[in-house]
């Protein structure tokens, strides 16, 4: 188990209009691990994930990336930390336009050859999609996978996933998570995946953080958290009730 911290969160809080969204979070993410952030709807998972690539800053506390203040070099941070949003933005235009978005400023990406793009689509299970297809004609799950392929073309060291399988059926969910996990093993990618599906995450995550109403109420392995019944506490076992809040 690797133990080199790539992110260090110290006393991180987030307040929006005097409402506390995240409260005094302390934890680390280790290089090469698969960390899962679990919590009921509204627990603050997406708000937390946005801090890993500094799309938002904490209102209190500090975050370190590779030992330095996370905001010290935004260019390096954004290049190295990719994110797949909960509702990924797919741009009008073709599938190819979407894959090559970063080519607008990154020459390496602009020069990607078509067969490499097709390979990246296959990688996320988009076998039948042509580069010329209109991206917005794709189904929700296909758009999500297109967005994942687009993020992966940037060759990030860290991959942030926000409910990566929410639009996919169980079979596709597993295959996408298998892909992410393989990339993690082969490219020593670090994965931080937000989810409320602890059953799925059990199969992939080395470690888990549990959020409830903005507070970190559990951290560790699934076994230890099961023992302490933290999943019940976080409202994760009764998923239907959790989805309604």
């Amino acid at each position: 188990m690797p133990s080199d911290p790539i992110f260090q969160f110290s006393n991180v809080s987030l307040k929006i209009d005097a409402v506390s969204i995240l409260k005094g979070l302390n934890f680390e993410v280790h290089k090469g691990e698969f960390l899962s952030v679990l919590g009921a709807s509204g627990a603050g998972k997406s708000s937390l994930l946005r801090m890993f690539n500094a799309l938002s800053s904490p209102t209190e506390g500090s975050i370190k990336f590779r030992g330095m203040n996370i905001e010290d070099d935004m260019e390096v941070l954004r290049k190295n930390v990719g994110i797949l949003f909960q509702n990924p933005a797919v741009f009008s235009g073709s599938v190819k336009d979407n894959l090559l978005l970063a080519g607008r400023w990154d020459q390496n990406i602009a020069q990607t050859l078509d067969h490499e793009l097709i390979r990246s689509l296959k990688q996320v299970g988009l076998n039948k999609i042509e580069l010329q297809n209109k991206a917005r004609d794709l189904s929700g799950g296909e758009q999500q996978r297109l967005a994942l392929a687009r993020t992966l073309l940037n060759h990030p060291q860290v991959l942030l996933l926000d409910e990566p399988t929410s639009n996919l059926d169980p079979k596709l969910s597993s295959s996408i998570m298998d892909l992410v996990n393989n990339l993690r093993e082969n490219l020593s990618l670090t994965v931080v995946a937000v989810s409320h599906d602890h059953v799925l995450m059990r199969r992939y995550a080395n470690r888990v953080i549990i959020l409830s109403h903005g507070e970190l109420i559990g951290e560790g392995s699934f076994e230890s958290l099961d023992r302490d019944q933290v999943f019940e506490q976080a409202g994760l076992l009764d998923t239907e009730a959790a989805d309604e809040t």
């Binding site: 929006i16 690539n53 500094a54 799309l55 938002s56 800053s57 905001e71 935004m74 260019e75 954004r78 290049k79 990719g82 994110i83 949003f85 509702n87 990924p88 933005a89 741009f91 978005l101 970063a102 607008r104 400023w105 990154d106 967005a147 687009r150 993020t151 940037n154």
Partner: protein, 266 residues
């Protein structure tokens, strides 16, 4: 026979009140209940424009560069204030953005016209600087306030796209490029369309006025051509300066979109 001038006397103006009387008759017939507002509007039109006539007469007697400069700057301040008032969204430093863009457009375009096109001698002669300056500032005001509103709409609509681009490593400028492009397009396309059809359907106001005042249509046409070009360039320049200032307000210096600005409406 070509008349030199159609002189309109105060009596003639009184006769034109007949139009209002006729409107009131029609409004009453349909029971629209607009009579009172219309009477107030009629009175205000008369009083405001008459006063403006006296003010302009006084302005046109002033022959001093400092006077003209102060007047133009005052006009730009008033236009910027009006533009800020029209802005329903909460754009930080919008007054300053308006001020700088109108000032930039006025200096460049009014300056070029007075010094190099009309060769006005001296440049501060009120007969040229006031009407042309007024057109530039007024046109710049209308165009930039529309563009700013449209830009806000684009930002709200494209929030997810903008954050996606930032997350992929785009600078704020690259991340809002599509939004800026869409809003500038929306501002300039009606202008270009106007250039396509000008004279075919309707004569522009300035030209109509000049012809009524007895000026040779060919001269009036030349003025109008210059004015059309001037309008377009004013809109382009003022919008670009305004957006270059405004888009920055929506980002922190850490390349973060200030999403809170897209939520609260003033």
């Amino acid at each position: 026979m070509k008349p030199d001038f159609y002189v309109l006397t105060w009596n003639d103006v009184l006769v034109s009140l007949f139009f209002i009387a006729f409107s009131i008759f029609l409004i009453k017939k349909w029971k629209l209940g607009l009579e009172k507002t219309l009477l107030i509007g009629t009175l205000r039109t008369f009083v405001q424009l008459t006063l403006m006539g006296y003010v302009l007469t006084w302005f046109f007697d002033q022959q001093h560069w400092a006077f003209m400069l102060s007047l133009l700057i005052a006009m730009i301040f008033i236009a910027s204030w009006e533009g800020t008032r029209r802005q329903k969204n909460n754009i930080p430093h919008f007054f300053a953005a308006m001020l700088i863009s109108l000032l930039g457009a006025a200096i460049l375009i009014l300056g070029t016209i007075l010094l190099f096109i009309l060769d006005v001698e001296p440049w501060y002669s009120p007969y040229a600087a006031i009407p042309i300056g007024g057109m530039i500032i007024g046109n710049g005001l209308n165009s930039t306030s529309l563009t700013a509103n449209r830009f806000m709409g684009e930002l709200k609509h494209r929030e997810g796209e903008i954050e996606t681009l930032l997350a992929l490593g785009a600078t704020p400028k690259l991340a809002v490029y599509d939004a800026m492009k869409a809003s500038i397009h929306a501002a300039l396309i009606p202008n270009i369309n106007g250039m396509m059809t000008v004279g075919l359907v309707q004569l522009p106001g300035v030209m109509t006025g000049q012809i009524l005042a007895g000026i040779d249509p060919l001269i009036a046409v030349r003025y109008q051509i210059m004015i059309m070009y001037m309008w377009f360039t004013t809109a382009t320049l003022a919008n670009m300066i305004m957006l270059a200032i405004v888009y920055r307000q929506f980002f922190t210096n850490k390349m973060q979109l200030r999403r809170e600005l897209l939520r609260n409406e003033a």
